[in-house]
Each structure stands twice: as structure tokens, then as C-alpha cells.
Amino acid sequence: MDMKTGEIVIHLDRVMLDRNISLSELAERVGITLANLSILKNNKARAIRFSTLAAICQALDCQPGDILKYSNIEE
């Protein structure tokens, strides 16, 4: 696993701003704790379950591509 890859980053802010939804409200709708949602939002999470991703997409009425981005390593 020496091969260097870029990383997946989560952009919740823009979509949340568009939908005009607060962090605690989103946590309630998705069904996860505010603490866990904060970990996710601040890119501290190591992985995300498909079920969580599906719940977020439903709550925000968006596609995974709208909140997940792949950022390449700087060259």
C-alpha cells in the first residue's frame, strides 16, 4: 500500500446551504448523532456506510456525487 492516492473529501456545506438545513436537523433526519455527523462533515471519518450515504442523499435530495469529491494529490 505504498502507492499514493488522492483522497475522498466531503462537501456538505454547499448542499446544506442550498437546502437551508441545519447540522442538527440533518442529523435527526439521517438518524445519526450530531457528533458522528460532525466527524463526517469535518472529513475526520475513515469510511462511510452505504446506508448512511443513502440516508443523507434522501434527506438532502441529492446524488452521492454532489457531496463526495475526489481530490488528486498535488503534483
Partner: protein
């Protein structure tokens, strides 16, 4: 399905914590008793007795020599006590670490990196006890040999080594490594949202 599994786990944890709290008390009691016991009656021991006699006390048998020439050991208890001190110290380390592990079990969060480290300390303390008991046993034996100089009585210093204790230590060391990898898995799991 998933919920019932979790419920079973919670119930098991609950029973475990109850057992742990009882164990905690027992261990504290055992710590006090073991410190007193190792200080008071290390075996075998030579006793100074009134009159011209020498008593060799083992765990199940007292051997009494009645001879005019019998040397009277004067510091038997002191030396036996001092030789038992390092082992007692190791025992206290084991009990103290075990107590800390149990308290994390009571808190409901035993899967922490500290517990793997504590298990490793316990294993090393057991290795130390195995070596120390061999050394102190032979040393007190050597010292007692000088005390028993009786016609017709032959004394031999015995080096007694208990490989079982090393085995238990190795087992706990393996468990510590299992625990360490378990903690790493739990951290990964905790950061999976």
C-alpha cells in the same frame, strides 16, 4: 435480527460488569491477604524455638531437631520476608493492572489501547515472578543450609523452576496482542459513519 443481537450483547455486558464488580472486591481482599501471607509465612522457614532445638517448617510438616549443637537462626523471618518482597511487588503490579482493566469493563469501554498495554505488563510481571521465585527459593535454601549443621543430616539446595508460570505469561502476551489488534479494529469501526 441486528437489534436482537445487540440486545444479547448488552445483557451479556451487564452480567459481566456485575461479575466484574464482585471480582474487584475479591481482588482487593486478595491483595491484602497475599501481602500479609507472603510476609508472615514464606515456606519453608526455620524457626527459632525456646530450648536447644531447631524447627524446619514446610507447608505441611514441621521437622524438629533436638541437638545441643543446633545453631539458632536469628534473622530467619527477616530474611524470608525480604526475599519475598520483590515477588510481592510483582503480585501488586498484576493486581493493580487487573483492577484498572476491570474498571474499564465496568465503565463499558474495555477496548482501549491502555488495556493491551496493561495485559503486557501483567505478562512481564508473571515472567519476573517465575524467575524471582526460583532465585529467592534457592537463596533462602542456601542460607538455611548454613543453619542446619547436624550430624547425619544432609541438606541439598534445590533450584525449582515452574515452567507453567512462563506458559501463562506467554498466553497473556498473546492475548495482549490479540487485544491490540482488536483495539485497532474498533478505532476503524468508530470512524465508520
Amino acid at each position: 435480527m441486528h437489534d436482537s443481537k445487540n440486545l444479547l450483547l448488552v445483557r451479556m455486558m451487564f452480567v459481566l460488569t456485575k461479575v466484574a464488580s464482585v471480582l474487584l472486591l475479591l481482588i482487593l481482599l486478595f491483595a491484602v491477604v497475599s501481602v500479609i501471607a507472603t510476609a508472615v509465612s514464606p515456606s519453608p522457614i526455620l524457626l527459632r524455638t525456646p530450648g536447644k532445638q531447631l524447627t524446619l517448617r514446610t507447608s505441611g510438616l514441621d521437622v524438629i531437631f533436638r541437638f545441643e549443637q543446633a545453631k539458632q537462626p536469628s534473622h530467619a523471618v527477616t530474611i524470608a520476608f525480604l526475599s519475598a518482597l520483590p515477588i510481592t511487588a510483582c503480585n501488586i503490579v498484576v493486581l493493580f493492572q487487573l483492577r484498572k482493566i476491570l474498571s474499564t469493563v465496568l465503565e463499558g469501554n474495555p477496548f482501549v489501547a491502555e488495556n493491551a498495554r496493561r495485559l503486557r505488563y501483567i505478562a512481564f510481571a508473571l515472567f519476573a515472578i517465575a524467575i524471582l521465585s526460583t532465585l529467592t527459593g534457592a537463596l533462602t535454601g542456601r542460607w538455611q543450609q548454613e543453619m542446619i549443621q547436624l550430624p547425619g543430616v544432609q541438606t541439598v539446595v534445590r533450584w525449582r523452576f515452574d515452567p507453567g508460570q512462563i506458559g501463562v505469561g506467554v498466553l497473556i502476551l498473546v492475548l495482549a496482542e490479540v487485544f491490540r489488534q482488536g483495539v485497532a479494529m474498533k478505532e476503524e469501526q468508530d470512524l465508520t459513519i
